[in-house]
Symmetry: C2
Subunit: 204 residues, 2 copies
DNA sequence: TCCAAGATTGACTCATCCGTCAGTTATCGA
DNA sequence: TCGATAACTGACGGATGAGTCAATCTTGGA
């Protein structure tokens, strides 16, 4: 071998650029030349690392998911109460800062592509499984120490995940109604409802 | 005038075809020729009624929304209890039958297109406003007759709508986990939680 | 029967863009 | 210094597909 491989760095560089283009223009309008320009290289270089445009976008989708999961991993290992962890998790997952918003844009595109692409459906399946299990884990912890109500934890996790997804989608689309504070209020309300706060009794 | 206009029928015919193509292939892969073929006419005929492809897809999105709202209108006017109406509404809105699933596919595409298109964002804004107000209305009715808990009805409506959106999206993408019965279970659980069922007291 | 205007056709133009490839450059070890 | 190979360039071929348009057909009314 005459040169040490720069493949890992280059691929990352290209995938980051691809995600930025997807965020800004969507896959519909994504051109290989856009990605190349953003990554500061020629289209030939992009094709040197990714055979086809499809391979490129799929890799970008996967990269985006992987990074998002990794970013959340930190929260899971915190030594705070389950309820706190749940709040932190949900909060970090709602589209707030630029990084999370960008990731959300790419997720949205991934889902819609997945409607017509079995490979992406499989990718989503794997990621969502992990996603859900992270939340389920927290809920189980909360049930173990008696701070979260004793209901099917999978059902509760589904509720939390779906709620966040639905809120986020409308926020992303730019609904004036769905502001950041509104999203947080709705989520807080749900977490309160599934939390056991000492002394509080709700008739419902 | 030498002939009575067939414009209304033709436009509807084309928009229906466009929605079918969007459902089957997505807007990404939608070709004007696909729509023409499905509507049983030439590409020229499609362009006779819709100047550009963009005008066509936007009209299709709007048509899809309008029809969906119209289909739900029936439920609102039923003389059943608010809780029942809420259940019926949510149930009809989850992707179950082919018609609702098709509509969902088109909605999903609309949202993602809207991320990069102000016109579609405005369309979504209008529709969602109506959507939310339908649910809010039901909830207010329920609060008036004491069958739904006394919380901010807009917050409760946001919760219901977002939950359904999130669940549906995962179901559409084909998650094995998110089955029809699971979606219904999660929604039932939420509606139970916001309903006041006589004699039941929950500690939470 | 014939006209006027709406409706429709489909071949064609023109622009776009993916993927290729022959050629060039950079960087290592020997 | 000199291969050897990885890394990279960018012009080009070829395919695709939106939108145009001249020609044709259809229909209701005069």
């Amino acid at each position: 071998m005459a040169r040490p491989s720069v493949e890992a760095q280059r691929r990352e560089q290209i995938l980051r650029a691809a995600c930025e283009v997807i965020r800004d223009k969507g896959i519909n309008a994504l051109r290989v030349s856009d990605v190349a320009a953003r990554a500061g290289m020629s289209t030939g270089a992009v094709h040197y690392y990714f055979e086809t445009k499809r391979a490129l976008t799929h890799a970008a989708f996967e990269w985006n998911f992987t990074r998002s999961l990794a970013r959340r991993e930190v929260i899971l290992t915190r030594r705070t109460s389950p309820s706190e962890r749940l709040r932190a998790f949900v909060s970090s997952y709602l589209p707030g800062d630029d990084e999370t918003t960008a990731a959300w844009h790419v997720w949205a595109e991934t889902w819609v592509e997945a409607l017509h692409d079995a490979e992406l459906r499989a990718l989503n399946e794997r990621v969502y499984e992990e996603w859900r299990s992270m939340i389920t884990e927290i809920i189980r912890d909360g049930q173990a120490d008696g701070t979260i109500i004793d209901r099917d934890p999978v059902l509760l996790a589904d509720t939390v995940v779906s709620l966040v997804d639905g809120l986020s989608m409308q926020a992303l689309v730019g609904s004036r109604h769905m502001t950041a504070s509104r999203m947080h209020a709705v989520c807080e309300h749900l977490i309160d409802a599934i939390s056991v706060s000492s002394g509080r009794v709700k008739v419902s």
